[in-house]
Symmetry: C2
Subunit: 148 residues, 2 copies
Amino acid sequence: MVKRTRLQEDVCPVARSLDVIGDWWSLLIVRDALSGVRRFSEFQRSLGVAKGMLAARLRDLVAEGVLETAPASDGSAYQEYVLTPKGRALYVVVAGLRQWGEDHCYGPGEAHSVLCDVAHGQPVARLELKCAEGTPLGPEDIVVVAPT
Amino acid sequence: MVKRTRLQEDVCPVARSLDVIGDWWSLLIVRDALSGVRRFSEFQRSLGVAKGMLAARLRDLVAEGVLETAPASDGSAYQEYVLTPKGRALYVVVAGLRQWGEDHCYGPGEAHSVLCDVAHGQPVARLELKCAEGTPLGPEDIVVVAPT
DNA sequence: CAGTATCCCCCCTGATACTG
DNA sequence: CAGTATCAGGGGGGATACTG
């Protein structure tokens, strides 16, 4: 019936979020945008994605209000893609993914990237869970730990 | 060449995370698991996903170490799926998605779900950005705001 | 209930060529 | 450089039937 289950109408806010930025490339585009990437070619080089896909994703993200187009800052005739406040608010999600990846997706001693560091190489704070295992979690169980 | 771009070897921790839990259903499964869902049929009912897909996703998440199987707590012969510490650590990501969805994916006055509330209906704190617009963001710019 | 097996369509994705 | 247009394929994803 449905080609793919749509979550736009879902009652759960997590599902609605994933409906907007849950596909394969969107969050990587947002990650790059948070790092200051603005130009089509920069996104393409960073992501290694086909031009058609990139154009489609950028168009979708603009339509969703995550990105907006702006005149090129260098005076060229093209546009740039910059995050809206809605898009910038995804920083919390990207930072969470970044930290989780660092903690659980690398072998011991394996170096992390600094190129993709959304904090631009600064020492970063961490989001820790202070809730005991087995008990329900709430956002108040998240604590921000300053870098040592 | 490649059926789909793999990010497992990518140097960026965000990309590695998305390689593990970036597909359509994984984070929704984690969301339900954080809410206490453990049984196959519960996941299926909650997600409305085809059984084949659910079985594949659960298998993948177990293989990735996000979930682990455990004997059924009610004595039946089947297994249950519970989060590992690695999986529980995704709470930060799910909470971020949930909050972003609430803030940006609902019309004015439209009610949110409480069923999918990963905090089990408790009043929840919020993660706010205290960084000024236009400046680089870092995790230290995230502040946890207690419920009013 | 908890899956596995099978069928099949459609869209995602990638590659290439083309335009301004 | 910044896209658009087009094509081909592979698998994601749904539905159903079947098994233990």
